[in-house]
Amino acid sequence: MDAPFPFGFPGPTAFYLATYVLTLVAHVVFMNYVLAGTGVLLFRQIRGKAGTSDVLADLLRDWLPFALSAAITAGIAPLLFIQILYKKAFYTANLLLFHRWMLILPALIVGFYLLYAQKTAFVKARPRLRLLVTTGALACFLFTALSWTENYLLARSEGAWASMYASKSMIYENREILPRMLLWTLGALPTLAVLLGWQLHRRDRAGSPVESATFQRVARLGLGGLVVAGACAAGYAMLVGPAARAHAVGPMAWPWFVAAAAGVVVEGAGFVGLYRAQENRGKWLGIASAGLLFVILGTTVVREVLRITAVDFAALYAEHARAAQVSGRWLFLGFFPVNAVLAIWAIRTALTRAERPAA
């Protein structure tokens, strides 16, 4: 385990780790849009004046339900692979959190409908109700994020399992939970900024001009997000102790740590460029997106390394090897590109063939 991730593991383990991380990255992108997007929507609704139009709020209201659907769909793939990588730990944490864990589902259903309710004329016309609806949705998503965080930390801590079971508690108490949650929530802001930036850019290019001030607002959101999330990450690093800090920059994680740090710089440069740009915004968004990719990939790998080094990971190799003997991999590798092409074709058809709505 002295080589950079995912090298240094037996082949099957490295393969499942890499697949897991890549699929989790997709989940993180959409989950960030939902988490930060609902927060930003609430903020704008609190700040906004009745009757004035707000491009960002409209955009968020329009796209949040889809983003949630995408976050859930993208979450299913890592959910599959985590069961191969850490089966017993993952199941045990689920079981210990019991009803608390299962509550994620009604929370997401309620959150989903609240997002749809945002789009109705009835809610749109009632500012107070609108605030209540958005607050409800945000609470549902924060609860979901909290539950995943708790589950992740509990699954890593085998020593806590028996006593938690005996105590009947469905809440895992660990001082890392809230700071970690904060890190996830604030860290979602730059991702949201990049995605919003692209949405606005597309709208702009499609003939519905978007004001510079709106792009600047998005760039500020991204930059501000990077700063607060960075500060939060530093605070979290202090909290986790020297051993975890050493692993985060140890042999397995350091290239990824560096990639994430470099990504922050590139992303920041992209946001600064976007803030200043009067044209060519696509270029700056491209730069910010490249940075974002490195940040998410790098931090996701570092997150995984911290788990690998916290559990007896070598004991799981045999299971991974057994899983790898099962056939079907080619089925997946065959259908994945075919269905990806079909999905792109569907999106292209929708975007290029749809008549423009009347202004």
């Binding site: 589902l105 989903f112 057994r322 099962v326 269905n339």
Partner: protein, 486 residues
């Protein structure tokens, strides 16, 4: 019992515990049986998922009719119907799907673990289809009203094909649980996937999906602002999707005959509960089928929203019956001949008879101080590990009710020969001491948990239990029964 040499998962070594058995914390669902929880959610999910698939078929058919100029109101209907589908099925359907996964973990982590281990690439493939379904569906939802007929048909066709393939893949995994077929011999994935109940189950579910979609369409049509003639025409066309129901009895029979003999016998009278659910499913389907045939297809009757709602309720009842039968018929296994309902392998039962089932269970009892002595505590642990997946103490299928009138001797005998007491139960998997402790635990519960409770340790009793256990053997009950017949 057959062996399964080829598959790497028959030795389910997932843990470093001395027995190689993974111990999980077991939750108490109160008076509810765990099976009821997963069954309840399962019905809901299956109904919605089938609606999503059948809805796709219906809309593609309508879009095609519209393109041919045969059904002018079809486009308007499709747009409204798709909104219902997205709001109900995309949201609740998708999340109850994740819910099924989470509930399966709650009821039997080892079973879902085995399923994931064996079929993860099939599941991953299914995920690519599910993603395609969501993407094509959203494209239609957002842009459908502004698209030309060909593009609409393309998106709907893609959505439907992807949705149906989701069913295709999942159907292979679920039917494998009941009839793993040649997988047991060879460990070959495809032998397990295309197992004996794969095809009847796939066709049955496809036709059920079409029927559910037609019933929901009837409701949507009846409440939509169409002219009466338009409504009648739409209804008649939607009813075409009910026509394949005529084949359901045949498919049901095929499914029944592809099932293991013992499972079939539970359904056809051997187990009152399962027979009742089978009757519910068959009866409700028959009623819907008759109405469809005579009312909608032959006499072209108009259908109002109340009747449409009633038909949907019947459709739901049919799904409920079918799902309970599917879940129940697997007993005493969750994966036939591989993993018992209480998540033990046949080989582990042999070992546990010698070395005990809970000796290495690291999870303490909750409220351990409430029990009067160590023997009852041991019994409570044995109950938790071996029985609680299908029984409660005093609620649904409660041990106190089932065994409350038996003498101690009867209880010992019936537990020692568990798989012969009822062949849909697994063999008892512990030592005579564990069995005696379980009997004492049941008696203590039946006696309303007194503070003081005598500890039994008569060597003659333990020797008798051992004899009964040996007589019972460790093969499943149905195997012994068919052996006896021979």
């Amino acid at each position: 019992m057959k062996s399964a040499r080829g598959t790497p998962y028959i030795n389910l070594v997932v843990d470093t515990s001395p027995l190689g058995v993974p111990y999980y914390p077991t939750n108490d669902f109160g008076p509810l049986m765990k099976g009821l929880v997963i069954g309840g959610l399962g019905i809901f999910h299956v109904f919605l998922a089938q609606f999503a698939i059948g809805g796709g078929v219906l809309m593609t058919y309508f879009e095609w009719l519209s393109g041919k100029g045969k059904l002018p109101s079809a486009r308007r209907f499709t747009s409204g119907y798709f909104k219902v589908l997205v709001l109900v099925s995309f949201v609740v359907g998708a999340l109850t799907g994740v819910g099924m996964w989470f509930t399966s973990i709650q009821t039997s982590p080892r079973t879902i673990g085995l399923m994931v281990d064996t079929f993860h690439w099939v599941w991953a493939t299914e995920w690519t289809f599910f993603s395609l379904e969501v993407i094509a569906g959203y494209c239609f939802y957002r842009y459908g009203d502004r698209l030309d007929g060909r593009s609409r048909l393309f998106l709907l066709g893609l959505y439907t094909t992807a949705a149906w393939f989701s069913l295709f893949w999942i159907n292979g995994i679920l039917s494998w649980q009941l009839t793993p077929g040649a997988w047991l011999e060879s460990g070959d994935l495809w032998a397990g996937f295309f197992n004996p109940t794969f095809w009847p189950s796939l066709f049955f579910r496809t036709f059920a999906a079409m029927a559910i979609a037609a019933l929901v369409a009837a409701l949507v049509i009846s409440v939509s602002p169409f002219e009466r003639d338009e409504q009648k025409e739409l209804l008649h066309r939607a009813a075409h999707l009910l026509a394949p129901m005529a084949l359901m009895p045949l498919l049901g029979a095929w499914y029944l005959f592809a099932m293991p003999k013992d499972s079939r016998s539970w359904v056809l009278g051997g187990s009152p509960a399962m027979t009742m659910f089978f009757g519910l499913g068959a009866g409700a389907s028959l009623l819907v089928g008759m109405y469809a045939l005579f009312g909608l297809l032959l006499r072209r009757l108009y259908i109002n929203s109340a009747t449409a709602s009633l038909l949907i309720v019947l459709g739901f009842a049919a799904t409920a019956g079918g799902e309970f039968v599917r879940e129940g018929a697997r007993k005493p296994f969750t994966v036939r001949e591989t993993l018992y309902s209480n998540a033990m392998t046949p080989a582990e039962i042999v070992t546990m008879r010698e070395r005990g089932s809970v000796t290495h269970d690291p999870y303490p009892l909750r409220d351990a101080a409430d029990y009067p002595n160590d023997q009852v505590r041991l019994g409570a642990k044995v109950y938790r590990f071996q029985c609680s997946v299908c029984h409660t103490v005093g609620g649904v299928n409660g041990l106190v009710h089932l065994a409350g009138t038996w003498t101690a001797e009867q209880t010992r005998l019936n537990v020692a020969k568990l798989q012969h007491t009822k062949p849909f139960m697994p063999p008892f998997a512990g030592t005579p001491e564990e069995l005696e402790a379980l009997v004492r635990f049941i008696e203590w519960e039946a006696a309303s948990r007194p503070k003081e409770f005598e500890v039994t340790s008569d060597p003659a009793t333990l020797a008798q239990i051992k004899r009964w256990l040996d007589e019972a053997g460790t093969a499943p009950g149905y195997a012994a029964a068919s052996e006896k017949k021979r």
